[in-house]
């Protein structure tokens, strides 16, 4: 019933609008088309100017509204470079935006047909074309230069001392793997994946896997001021590791390994103070449509001091130990975890 009422209301509104349109057409004929056209033309010129002024006010209001909702200061060095380059680009494009829009609407108003003037025949000028080809070209060259410098910086090879952390996407969560004490991530093979006890398909023949730690809650721990190299992969479809607070992202593609590296400069706790938000958390957002749960594919990053990190790390168990509780009694990964699988791996190798 309500649907019917709404439908008929909509139809009614259309009929009214149409009647207004039709009536204005008849009125124009009655009152002399020329005169009415001139009036309408003037009204439209004013309406455009009004729209422009309203628009500028709207931009101001929009800016005020968003000012406090935007991302906090970038949490790594490349992110700071990002923000300054972003500001330069905003400045360049902003100037062009306001100038060209103002000129457009000003011309509309100034050169409305008033019946008093005739238009000025002005068909071409090579000088003008040359000017406005050269100036944008120079502006673009500058932006490209800044861009490419930052681009090579952010995509550069990670420093040798960077901690490797693997992040693997699957529908619909992130799996994190840390190398254990040996600082080396062991080999993995998608054919060995088993959701029960080998979520990443670690190859137990590779002794480097024995002490690797896997976090299935999508939480990455980082030490403030220490470079981290993310080794990005995917188990099924394309995902994307989006790190808005660090101003970077990289796709996770099945069959291909991609990387990102960064040095976090602000701990999660300091960020809570900076943003005045006690619930603040660095989030990892999946930025490539990956299926129905895409919007909930959330990971987090905890940036902490070395001491806190060590404390956390000491509590972690190797994945081998947690996934095979009978084979290896629970033991902290940091000290003795590797022994059992190493022995087993050795056995398998010798049997070959």
């Amino acid at each position: 019933m309500s649907g019917l009422i709404i439908t008929s209301l909509i139809i009614l509104v259309f009929v009214i609008i149409y009647q207004i349109g039709k009536a204005s057409e008849y009125a124009a004929i009655l009152r002399g088309e020329k005169k009415v056209n001139a009036q309408v033309n003037r009204a439209m010129a004013w309406a455009l100017v009004g729209t422009f002024i309203l628009g500028m006010w709207g931009i101001w209001e929009c800016h005020q509204y968003f000012k406090d909702l935007m991302l906090p200061v970038a949490a790594c060095r490349t992110g700071e470079n990002y923000d300054s380059m972003f500001n330069v680009t905003i400045m360049v494009t902003g100037i062009v935006f306001f100038l060209t829009q103002a000129v457009l609407f000003w011309f509309c108003f100034k050169y409305q047909d008033s019946g008093k003037r005739s238009s000025y025949f002005f068909a071409h000028s090579n000088k003008l074309e040359l000017i406005w080809t050269t100036i944008p070209a120079i502006a673009m060259a500058i932006l490209v230069a800044i861009g490419i410098r930052n681009w090579f910086d952010v995509t550069s090879e990670a420093p040798a001392e960077a901690t490797a952390v693997e992040i693997v996407g699957k529908q619909f969560n992130w799996i994190i793997r840390y190398p254990g004490k040996d600082k080396i991530l062991g080999k993995r093979d998608f054919r060995k994946i088993n959701d029960a006890n080998n979520v990443l398909g670690l190859d137990w023949n590779d002794p480097h896997n024995a002490d690797d730690i896997i976090a299935q809650n999508g939480e990455i721990h980082m030490v403030v001021g220490k470079p981290v190299k993310l080794i990005i992969g995917s188990r099924d479809v394309i995902h994307d590791v989006g790190l808005p607070h660090f101003r970077m992202k990289m796709d996770a593609v099945p069959g291909i390994t991609t990387t990102l590296w960064l040095t976090p400069t602000i701990t999660s706790d300091s960020m809570k103070l900076i943003t005045k938000n006690p619930n603040f958390v660095y989030e990892i957002a999946c930025d490539q449509l990956c299926g129905k749960g895409h919007y909930a594919m959330r990971g987090t990053i905890i940036v902490e001091t070395q001491a806190k990190y060590d404390e956390w790390f000491a509590k972690q168990q190797s994945y081998y130990a947690t996934a095979n509780p009978s084979a290896a009694p629970a033991a902290p990964a940091a000290d003795s975890a590797a022994t059992a699988p190493k022995a087993e791996a050795g056995k398998e190798i010798s049997m070959k």
């Binding site: 259309f14 609008i17 149409y18 057409e25 729209t51 628009g55 968003f66 909702l69 935007m70 680009t89 360049v92 494009t93 062009v96 935006f97 060209t100 829009q101 011309f107 050169y111 409305q112 047909d113 003037r117 005739s118 238009s119 000025y120 002005f122 068909a123 000028s125 003008l128 074309e129 406005w132 070209a137 673009m140 932006l143 490209v144 800044i146 861009g147 490419i148 681009w151 998608f190 054919r191 994946i193 398909g201 188990r235 099924d236 394309i238 994307d240 808005p244 990289m250 593609v253 099945p254 069959g255 291909i256 603040f280 957002a285 930025d287 449509l289 299926g291 129905k292 895409h294 919007y295």
Partner: protein
Amino acid sequence: MNIEGIITEGAHTAHAHDSAGGHHGHEHHEQHFIWKYIFSQDHKIIGKQFLITGIIWAIIGALFSVFFRLQLGFPDSSFPIMEKFLGEWAKGGKLSPEFYYALVTMHGTILVFFVLTAGLSGTFANLLIPLQIGARDMASPFMNMLSYWFFFAASVIMLISLFVETGPASGGWTTYPPLSALKEASLGSGIGMDLWLMGMSLFVISSLLGGLNYISTILNMRTKGMTMTRLPLTVWALLFTAVLGVLSFPVLFSGVVLLIFDRNMGTSFYLSEIFIGGKALPNIGGSAILYQHLFWFLGHPEVYIIMLPGMGMASEVLSTHSRKPIFGYFAMVISMVGITFLAFLVWAHHMFVTGMSPFLGSIFVLLTLLIAVPSAVKVFNWLTTIWRGNIRFNPPMLFALGFVSLFISGGLTGIFLGNSALDIHLHDTYFVIAHFHIVMGVSAFFGMFAGVYHWFPKMYGRYMNNTLGYIHFFMTFIGAYLIFWPMHYEGIAGMPRRYYDYSAWESFKNFQSINGFISIVATVVFFAQLVFVFNFFFSIFKGRKLTTLNPWGSTTLEWTTPINPGHGNWEGDIPEVHRWPYDYKDDGNGNDFIPQTTPLRPGEDAH
């Protein structure tokens, strides 16, 4: 050139090339309805067929956006009306995530391909090319008819896909594999995806048949005196549009065919090392990124396929209604050449974060930002065109001015996204949504609206209602900025696109109320478009009748045809052209324009 023959032999024999399609010398007896309006070979009718099919698709696509905007704006509410439209996909008036993604996917597919490619260049290339170059029809009217009917078949298949049980394709309009290749990955990757691929294949065929026809018509069938440098800019724009389509759609086709193989025949073009649905797939050695290269090799030129017709029509409309020649005709043509050429060299800027080589990325940055130069030249030329003009603010002119404003806004944000160092954060956020909706969504639509309002009198011999046109313009113009301006901010704040719900995200849940605002405006703007649809269909039958041949005081050839031209366009000989198309100057008899058919006066400069 057989045009000479047509001119000397007169109107009746000029229809000789139609006789292959049937027995309809329509000047002697009325054609049957089916041959005149359904399987017509008259380019004007085919143009209208494209336009009306495009309008129907646009309503469907826009309605989809209203549905998913309701979800985005009010994730906690339910809208029983959605259940009426969508059935079990919106049980209790709440959209399911699967169908949310299906709606997003189909919104993109429909608007990009079925409306802004077929509906836009299909309409205006068909309508304007023969009329503006002085030809009686296309080089091959039969192929032209096929082009529409392949598009129709593609439309039917795409429409059917909306009704299958597992829903239509839901992997985004770009349908990246492996998501789109594996049935286990998503409901929409089942039969819905197969129908999507079939529909797109037919669509490519339609587009190629049309494009080849447009190119050969423009190159071969210009009337006497219509040299290339006397072509209106619309025709130039449609020529480059067709060239882009003909060279890039086959690449999409190859990408689509390989995807069909991967889906159904066990090949591994795009698949490698995948564990899904509880088991490891046997595919090894493919590259998911290969598809993206093939897709964007079309996908980026596609953006210009959408933009160029609007640019051409805006040029024409701005010049006509400012009563002033287009400024820098040759610069306009050269900048279109530049855009067309560069359009093929920038596709990988959609792929900066796929892990591609940073060096390769930097080359694409350079080429992408280079394309800003010809675009800037066009904007400055448009501004100079209206400078010291005599502007008449009728609806086509308002939409052309709106086109320029939106093109500036959307073009400038492209400078951010084309620069990989900035794209690395903005990629796949709402900044991208805002950018491309303003520039190739709304701006291209404004070009199309300008064209429809401007050439409606030529299409139907009647005017559209001006008052409704003004309402339509201001609601759409202001609404578009209200919708997309705030999205830039959301994108800068990192808010990802294609999310069903943001409430679980500490970083993005702040934007809930602005999302609601955007959704309300989007719904209002949707209804504003219905004002246009209403105006369009009502004016076909009830609009004010045209009483003069040349209502806008225009110089180009289409306005020398009768008010309701029959098949063949001109009743007598086809006109001969003596001057360029933008001679808006005093003709000595009190008119402020000189048609292309008027010979140069003694001592007059050609241009």
